[in-house]
């Protein structure tokens, strides 16, 4: 009986904990959205910080990221092509390549890449700011942390994930064409017809929304996890661990929901 009560209690605590985290995320997102609509937010200073964020999140990693996207695309395209040929389905290879790589795998891997590189750094930085009282110091100086610290990170994250995923997708399309048709313009017509068949408005809009949600997840969750950190230095790694687990969970949920909406 005691065991049953303890289990129910533990389950209840987990549900309440999850709901609290969800509420915190929603409340923060609402606050960020209201700040976004506030005219005072849009001064030169905020704009400069957004530019800096995009630079650190997307531009700085461009060579490594493009190499990574190129290698992944090449490997996956080669696997798809050889499998399609083995099964006599070569005419479907370009469509399969686009559906697997461009619509699913590359946006997902981009989000994971940014989460590991920038999301974890953001989580650590905000947690340290929280522990060191830097946010209170900013509040004392009437420098709004939402405008100065958080909103530029959110906007920068969304722009970076959308931009990097788009670049990776374009690169994959180019790789796909070259792998299937080689340096030959003859394949241009069937390839573009396949593209037009796949990329209707609903799919493009869905892809953009998915990338934007990925961008939001890899910034919003680390920021809120950092802000939840108790004022104890040894809690910083715990905060990062929790934040990154939530990011991974959120990315998975977005991907699964997107797949379900598309194919079920």
């Amino acid at each position: 009986m005691n065991y049953l009560a303890a289990s129910v209690e533990s389950l209840g605590a987990k549900i309440i904990g999850g709901l609290t985290v969800g509420y915190g995320l929603l409340a923060f997102l609402t606050e960020a959205f209201l700040a976004l609509l506030d005219r005072n937010t849009w001064n030169r200073a905020t704009f400069d910080v957004v530019i800096k964020q995009v630079y650190f999140t997307a531009v700085q990693i461009l060579p490594v990221f493009l190499t990574y996207a190129l290698v992944i695309s090449w490997v996956i395209i080669t696997i798809i092509l050889s499998t399609a040929r083995d099964f006599g389905l070569a005419e479907f290879a370009s469509e399969m390549t686009i559906r697997v790589l461009v619509l699913e795998l590359l946006p997902f891997l981009t989000a994971l890449y940014i989460a590991l590189r920038s999301g974890s750094a953001m989580n650590t930085e905000i947690a340290l700011m929280q522990v060191n009282n830097e946010l209170e110091a900013l509040a004392h100086c009437k420098v709004p942390p939402m405008q100065f610290e958080f909103l530029p990170r959110l906007i920068g994250g969304v722009i970076s994930v959308v931009a990097l995923a788009s670049l990776a997708c374009l690169l994959a399309l180019l790789m796909g064409y070259l792998s299937i048709y080689g340096l030959n313009a003859a394949g241009f017509e069937p390839f573009t017809r396949t593209l037009a068949k796949i990329f209707d408005f609903r799919i493009v809009a869905g892809l953009l929304v998915k990338c934007a949600l990925f961008g939001l997840a890899v910034t919003l969750i680390p920021i809120t996890a950092g802000l939840e950190t108790p004022k104890k230095l040894f809690m910083v790694p715990v905060s990062v661990l929790r934040g990154m687990m939530r990011v991974f969970f959120a990315i998975m949920v977005i991907e699964v929901v997107s797949l379900a909406l598309k194919y079920i």
Binding site: N133, E134, A137
Partner: protein, 135 residues
């Protein structure tokens, strides 16, 4: 000390529990105030911050970030950040906790002599340090 925490918005505080933004230089920490509070441009905010640091006699610390500063340099930056707020009262909370590498009553007096004073400076310190402040 609880009284210090309850001080109103007209008081600029220099305190150990109000640290600098660690990833910004001394200059950027000070320039944040005109930039975000008074909506000056970036160049003008930097100019004002630089002028204030020069006025305090520490223009050389402008590019340093918090971890690279000595306690005295950190204090000067925090003081400049408090001064640029242009509030009528300035409270220095337990300076001994921040300025453990210099004879601090003299150091603060020297800074006060250099700064263009408008408003009052108040120092809150432990009673057993009263001997450090000759009348």
């Amino acid at each position: 000390m609880a009284a210090i925490a309850e001080l109103g918005d007209d008081v600029a505080r220099v305190a150990l529990n109000l640290p600098l933004r660690a990833n910004l230089s001394a200059l950027d920490n000070i320039a944040l105030i005109p930039l975000y509070q008074r909506h000056f441009g970036a160049a003008e905010s930097i100019r004002q911050a630089h002028t204030l640091l020069a006025q305090l006699g520490h223009a050389d610390i402008a590019p340093l970030r918090d971890p690279d500063m000595t306690p005295a340099q950190r204090f000067v930056t925090q003081l400049a950040r408090a001064l640029i707020l242009k509030r009528p009262r300035l409270v220095i909370d337990r300076p001994g906790a921040m300025l453990y590498d210099v004879p601090y009553p003299l150091f603060i007096r020297q800074l006060a002599a250099q700064a263009d004073l408008s408003g009052t400076w108040e120092i809150y310190d432990f009673s057993w340090n009263q001997v450090l402040y000759p009348e």
